[in-house]
Amino acid sequence: MTRQVSVGRTVAWILLFVLLIVTLFPFYWMLRTAFSDNTQLPGHPNSLLPVETTLGAFKRVLGLASIEEAQAQGGSGAAVNFWLYLRNSLVVATITTVCQVFFSAMAAYAFARLRWPGRDKVFALFLAALMVPPIFTTLPNFVLIKNLGLLNSFAGIILPGAFMTPFAIFFLRQFFLSINRELEEAAMIDGAGHRRIFFGLIIPMSAAPIATLAILTYINSWNDYFWPLLVGQQENVRVLTVALGVFRSQTPQGGPDWAGLMAATLIAALPMIILFLAFAKRITNSIGFSGIK
């Protein structure tokens, strides 16, 4: 009996181990390819180490190589500048996160603590919006942004997500409801208004969930593809995800620039990987905790 169990456990451990390999291998392969020489890749498809290790691919996608150099190394020679796209992604994700979390926190406070007529009905309406598939609102939103003359501007990319998402309000409201009322009542008696209570009490006490929400919002915003694809095609506001799609479609003669493409995906993924390494515990726990996003 004991032996059987331990055999079972061994098999289970092997399965888990295989699973971790399957999860991690694509990340490794991205790294391995990005540091390879693109012209040499087809000759060594199964080399575990980079083929002819070089930084050429990174130079190409960061716009540091001349057209001739890029083409000689198997690039398309088209002008790409992932520094610029990196900056654009940083601008979009940062502004979106700060505004969305802040405004959502204010609304969540109003839903959790303030008394006003129709509050619960309005909250139900906010939650119902979670059901509407994004493409349905995206089409009219595109028309709106276009009519406002905001196509190909940061404002156009950022605005729809800047004020709130139903999820963010729902998430924070749960935490605000769990905060002890006594402290607030004491503050009220001392003559503090809602503004002081919100900034001086609620926000500091909810620093942890607010940080978690901010990280999740940042990741979502960074990874978003559909909306920036529609309203931010132009190079000066093009974010990384959109740039990757464009780069992939610029296939050079003689076969795709795989090394360049992997270098570019690495640049797009790296900030999220770093963020994840820094906050792995917080992010992982938030998924168990908030239940279902």
Binding site: W13, L16, P45, A107, F163
Partner: protein, 280 residues
């Protein structure tokens, strides 16, 4: 009142108003250049006869079935493995990692790994004597491939949701089963799975709604091809709206998609009795 003002502004302008306007646009002919022209049910009549629409719907359903089927089974398996073997946060974090990388990035990495000529996966297949598979180029393989890629990205996330559900099952239930001499396998089918049902239903509803909205992966890899094999509904709507500027028709299809999602979610909640737990 000032607290709710910004959120309400955003909600009304970017959620409520577009929802109403989208519904209206679905009854119009609208090319962005001139004002929308009301045309009654014409868009819906056209949809019924549009073979591309039905194809898109069929392809999407095929995608959802494969994606959700494989993903849910794997996620429950992974969650069980973690639950029984280790509470390690590192293992959980690694499992979650793919979910934090953009769809576009994931799609492109697999696009490279699955390349028919130099992709590493075909090299592996070669070692066990399987001829190279054109994962994206073969119309039979394209949808399972796209579905598989997204299983890889989402299975860890889904597993963590299930894992959280597993932890709500009280220990004494298992102890009782052990006393009764139940085997591990039997315990899983008779106790764990039934008690997990409410969590599982919620996970299914949420992941399925997401799955119907597959776009990014298709957009950067196959772009609907080969020969419509991966032209999923989201992609078809996108094409109609943004390459043909057929906004009225696109809105009508988006509204139908909305209705389908609502019906599917309600059915799941109903049929699987989500709110009832077997834990008395």
């Amino acid at each position: 009142m000032i607290f709710i003002a910004p959120a309400t502004l955003g909600f009304v302008v970017f959620y409520i108003w577009p929802t109403l306007r989208g519904a209206y646009l679905s009854f119009t002919e609208y090319s962005l250049l001139s004002a929308p022209k009301f045309n009654g049910l014409a868009n819906y009549e056209r949809m019924v006869q549009d073979s591309f629409f039905w194809n898109a719907l069929g392809v999407t359903v095929e995608y959802v079935v494969i994606n959700i089927g494989v993903q849910t089974v794997l996620a429950v398996g992974i969650a069980m493995l973690m639950y029984r073997l280790t509470k390690s946060i590192t293992v959980r974090a690694v499992i979650l990692a793919p979910y934090l990388v953009a769809n576009v990035v994931v799609a492109l990495v697999w696009y490279w790994m699955l390349d028919v000529q130099v992709g590493i996966v075909n090299t592996f297949l070669g070692w066990v004597g399987i001829d190279p598979v054109a994962f994206f180029g073969d119309s039979h393989w394209a949808i399972p491939t796209v579905a598989g890629i997204n299983v890889w990205r989402h299975m860890g996330y889904t597993a963590l949701l299930v894992f959280a559900g597993l932890q709500t099952i009280p220990k004494y239930v298992y102890e009782a089963a052990e006393v009764d001499g139940s085997t591990e396998w039997k315990t899983f089918w008779r106790i764990t799975l039934p008690l997990l049902r409410p969590v599982l239903v919620m996970v299914l509803v949420v992941t399925m709604i997401g799955s119907f909205q597959i776009f990014d992966t298709v957009a950067v890899t196959t772009q609907g091809g080969p020969i419509n094999a991966t032209r999923v509904i989201y992609y078809y709507i996108y094409e109609r709206a943004f390459t043909r500027f057929d906004f009225g028709y696109a809105s009508a299809m988006a509204l139908v998609l909305f209705a389908i999602l609502a019906v599917v979610s309600l059915l799941q909640l109903r049929l699987l009795r989500a709110k009832e737990s077997d834990l008395a």
